[in-house]
Amino acid sequence: MVSIFVSFLSFLFSIIVFIKQLTVGSFGQSIPWFSVGDIQFTIGYEIHSLNVLMLMLVSFMNLMIQLYSKEYMKDDERIKAYYGKLNLFTFSMLALVISPNLLQIYVFWELVGLGSFLLIGHYNRERAKRAANKAFLMTRIGDVAFLVGLILLFWGTGTFELHEIFHVVQSGNLSEGILTTVGFCLFIGVIGKSAQFPLHTWLPDAMEGPTPVSALLHAATMVAAGIYFIANIYPIFLASSTLLFTMALIGGCTGFFAATIALVEKDVKRVLAYSTISQLGLMLLSLGTIGFVGAIFHLMTHAFFKALLFLSVGRLIKYSGSQSIEHLREIGKRMPVIHLFFLIGAMSMSGIPFLSGYFSKEEILSAVFFNGPPFLFWLAVLTSLLTAIYMFRLYFLLFFGGAKTGGLSPLWMVFPMGILAAGSIFIGYLNTHFFGTFFSDWLTKNMPFSIEPVSAPTSFLSLLTILISLTGLVISYLLFRREWLAPKMRSYRMSRLYRTVLEGYYVDVVYDRVFIKGTIQFAKGIGFVDRFVQKIISFLPKTINGIAKQEVKLRWKNPQRYGLVAVIGLLLILTISIWSVG
């Protein structure tokens, strides 16, 4: 209860900050934190449109999730720890979005990772633990690159302050090469955090965590951090067209690739996880094609309908105790409220006209259409179509049929879902091309850097967006409700392609093989250099194990050997030193 109250306060304060930002414009303050020699590091806060938007979004989502968790987690024996971790997680994210310098961002970036690690591993299950570890290590790979990027950037510009960095970047004093390298390193960090190919495999596994946590993770905190970060340091990416293109390419491909997996996945939550990966891919695609507003707008609407979807699915999972579609099938029939909420979420997400998702998707498509290469545009169109298909697949499978039992949903669950549903419908009207682009105007006005507005979508685009979603709906209806092509589907299930997609294109398996088992076989086919590299990779764990075994054998045996090693070392360093003096 205390936790919920505090969350409420946090949301309230966010609104106050928002109002202040509306009236006085951006503001911020920094105080010196510590220094190394003559280099000063500062700590402070910065409020501009993007930050305040994230601030509200995160605190709002947190409040909703906490309300919902009160019912969902009430039987959990570690509920206190759960709320503690939840608050740590939200705190880190809130602190992340108001940070004015990169060092501070890095600190909280890590803390967000720690929070998600703790929450994913909340349930005392072997798989949950493994998922938590995987999430942590996977994002860690990205974070190494992230840190390297930070340090390079620091050496290029001599500062961590975002304002000053933008200044340096815009003055053109930084060479293109450094900028691209820095951007690339930072982008790898984002790939890890926002679960993009090839570092995406942790997110589906993270579904082992409690469902409200998944909702929070997907809506506002962990994965959104990556998108937010890119938007926050957008000038760096704007300065290099290579970077923008890479970003668009990875985003577009991940979007499509994850959507195909979501189409066949058998676990409800994993479907939603892949759909998040796919939507995040679209956001990156938008950012990569200078669709700044579109990406942020979609981030916001996505937060609403994704949280809504997770929470309504969570109700079903809570009711039946399983996450697999087979078990949950048709169970939603007797839960009219949940049915309604899920439908709203699915419609919004598929981009059915006049719901939130429609407007933001249209924005993204127009950015890609006007600024991106045609093939990426059609890829995005295809992704949107797939989105509609798999969302309604889920809907038709879960909510139709003859379930005998059903149950009323407790108020603690319905209330937050109702608000989210309202948001999923109406939040999109903040930025439409027939009522006015309030959101876009406000967002672009108060940023520390200028953003080119994207031209308004033509009627062709609007029509296309509508067409896509409706086609998706119809296809889905025919396939999964009417069960057209049912015999073909069955044979298709036997096919290799189906299995490949179901296994997530074997990315995980490949990772397993490459990093643990089959490195040597893989290397055989490829050239000598590759073989060499692969050997080193497989050699490392082996050597460690080998040495460890030797160490166990040798320990306590011959203490004089330790001295011998030292003496040999001494002789070596002596020889090297004398030799290098000449």
Binding site: G37, A132, I547, R555
Partner: protein, 486 residues
């Protein structure tokens, strides 16, 4: 001869010495049946007194007495602070120990030896002469030999003590040999006059002598702070010794070695004319490579360990590598960065070993003991988590800032090898997460093997509180941790 020195600059040392003598005499005079538990508090009192006296001396400028062999400069101030603080923590750890930790039989010996080591360490920080440096070093070494072998009924301990003694005496011999070369070149044992002599050296042949001297000295000292190549003894000794003693070795003894090296290179090997600076850069590459090796070796080996004491021993080798890299990078900030890291490291390693010694009986420290600790004794589990996070160098603890400062100072060196070292350090930090998080995960996510609560005593609480508070204090306000007087 004039004996009217400013003796008062030595009062912190004197008060420690007096406490040692007092405890020794009392132990002999008091009847057997009187409990000697309070000796610990006496020792703590002694260090407090010393600390107080030390604080009154802070405003002093650089002072030297005894023919310039004992100096009290900013360097001594900084490190005496760290040593006294660490020493107090160690004493508290011993006072708060349980019966099973096996401290009962050795009240007097332990406190006297620990204080002697503290005394030696404080002498080293102030020495300006090879002879006093060496004597200080031996005070520390000899007391640690005895401390390691204190539990004379355990076979493991005896082996550990023997290993330690054998390798330690080898190290001493090597150090002394190196020192003799330095003396041979300079013709004096005074560190300050060393500088003049070295700068006058123009004969190329003496260069070789100089190199030999340096290498021997370095390798001999590297025994103390456990970096490659003289680090292999550490796991055995750490495992065999009583955990309290292990804490002493890992935090205190290690830092004393580094302080000595720091003192030497900052006075003898660096602040010289251009020629000598080039001389140091010859070693610089070797030192950075050794630092890299230690990080890699320590972290890689730690992954495979199931005994927490061995694991921490390897992690201590890795940390030795980080600190050595900081010193060897030799840039404008390395002094500040390394000092900060010393402080942080000694705090968190004492904290970590405190908990390890508390929940493991006697010598054994299998990882199984930690399973489900959060369920039985949350206080200890959370504290250990904080220490581990700090050791792993994650924000918002002081460990992060420490690593960050080291990293900045290493990169500041500016040559390719510096960058390689920095990248290696980042990579190895990541590797180290693997084992810290493994233990943490088993503490939180698993159920305990036996439902046994650990009762927590007052001195332990004070100790943990001190460690954690300072870790966070200087982690969040790092300027606090680099006092202006350094």
């Amino acid at each position: 001869m004039d004996f009217s020195y400013e003796w008062h600059v030595m009062t912190p040392e004197f008060s420690i010495l007096m406490t040692i003598i007092l405890i020794g005499i009392l132990d002999v005079l008091l009847p057997k049946k009187i409990d000697r538990k309070w000796f610990g508090w006496l020792a703590v009192g002694g260090t407090f007194l010393s600390f107080g006296l030390f604080l009154t001396l802070l405003p002093l400028d650089r002072t030297s007495i005894l023919f310039d062999t004992f100096i009290f400069d900013s360097f001594a101030k900084g490190f005496k602070f760290i040593l006294l603080f660490g020493g107090t923590l160690l004493l508290l750890l011993a006072v708060g120990s349980k019966k099973e930790q096996g401290m009962e039989k050795y009240e007097m010996e332990f406190y006297v030896l620990l204080l002697t080591a503290l005394f030696g360490g404080m002498m080293i920080t102030s020495s300006n002469d090879l002879i006093t440096l060496f004597i200080g070093l031996e005070l520390v070494s000899v007391s640690s030999y005895v401390l390691v072998g204190m539990n004379k009924w355990s076979k493991k301990t005896n082996r550990a003590a023997l290993t330690f003694l054998m390798n330690g005496s080898l190290a001493t011999a090597i150090t002394l040999f190196g020192m003799s070369y330095l003396y041979g070149i300079a013709g004096t044992t005074q560190l300050q006059t060393f500088l003049q002599h070295f700068s006058e050296v123009s004969n190329p042949a003496t260069r070789y002598l100089y190199i030999i001297g340096f290498c021997f000295l370095f390798i001999g000292l590297s025994f103390k702070w456990t970096t490659m190549p003289f680090s292999l003894w550490a796991p055995d000794v750490y495992e065999g010794a009583q955990t309290i003693v292990t804490a002493f070795l890992s935090a205190f003894s290690k830092i004393i070695g580094l302080i000595m090296f720091f003192r030497l290179i900052f006075t003898v090997f660096s602040e010289t004319v251009l020629d000598q600076h080039v001389m140091f850069s010859i070693f610089q590459n070797s030192l950075l490579i050794l630092a890299l090796l230690s990080m890699t070796f320590g972290n890689m080996m730690a992954i495979g360990q199931r005994n927490v004491k061995r694991l921490l021993a390897y992690s201590s080798i890795a940390h030795g590598g980080y600190m050595l890299a900081g010193i060897a990078s030799f840039s404008a900030h390395s002094m500040e960065a390394v000092t900060y890291y010393f402080l942080v490291y000694s705090l968190i390693t004492i904290g970590a070993f405190t908990i390890v010694s508390y929940i493991t009986d006697g010598n054994e420290a299998d990882e199984q003991t930690f399973t489900g600790l959060f369920k039985t004794t949350p206080l200890l589990a959370i504290s250990l988590t904080i220490f581990f996070i700090s050791l792993a160098g994650l924000p918002p603890t002081a460990g992060f800032i420490g690593k960050w400062k080291l990293l900045i100072s290493i990169i500041d060196g500016g040559s390719p090898i510096h960058y390689v070292t920095a990248i290696g350090m980042i990579g190895m930090t990541i590797v180290s997460y693997a084992y810290y998080f493994r233990i943490m995960a088993s503490m939180y996510f698993q159920y305990p093997n036996k439902e046994e609560k650990f009762s927590v005593r007052l001195p332990l609480v004070i100790l943990l509180f001190l460690c954690i508070a300072v870790t966070f204090l200087i982690g969040l306000l790092p300027n606090f941790g680099t006092p202006t007087w350094i």
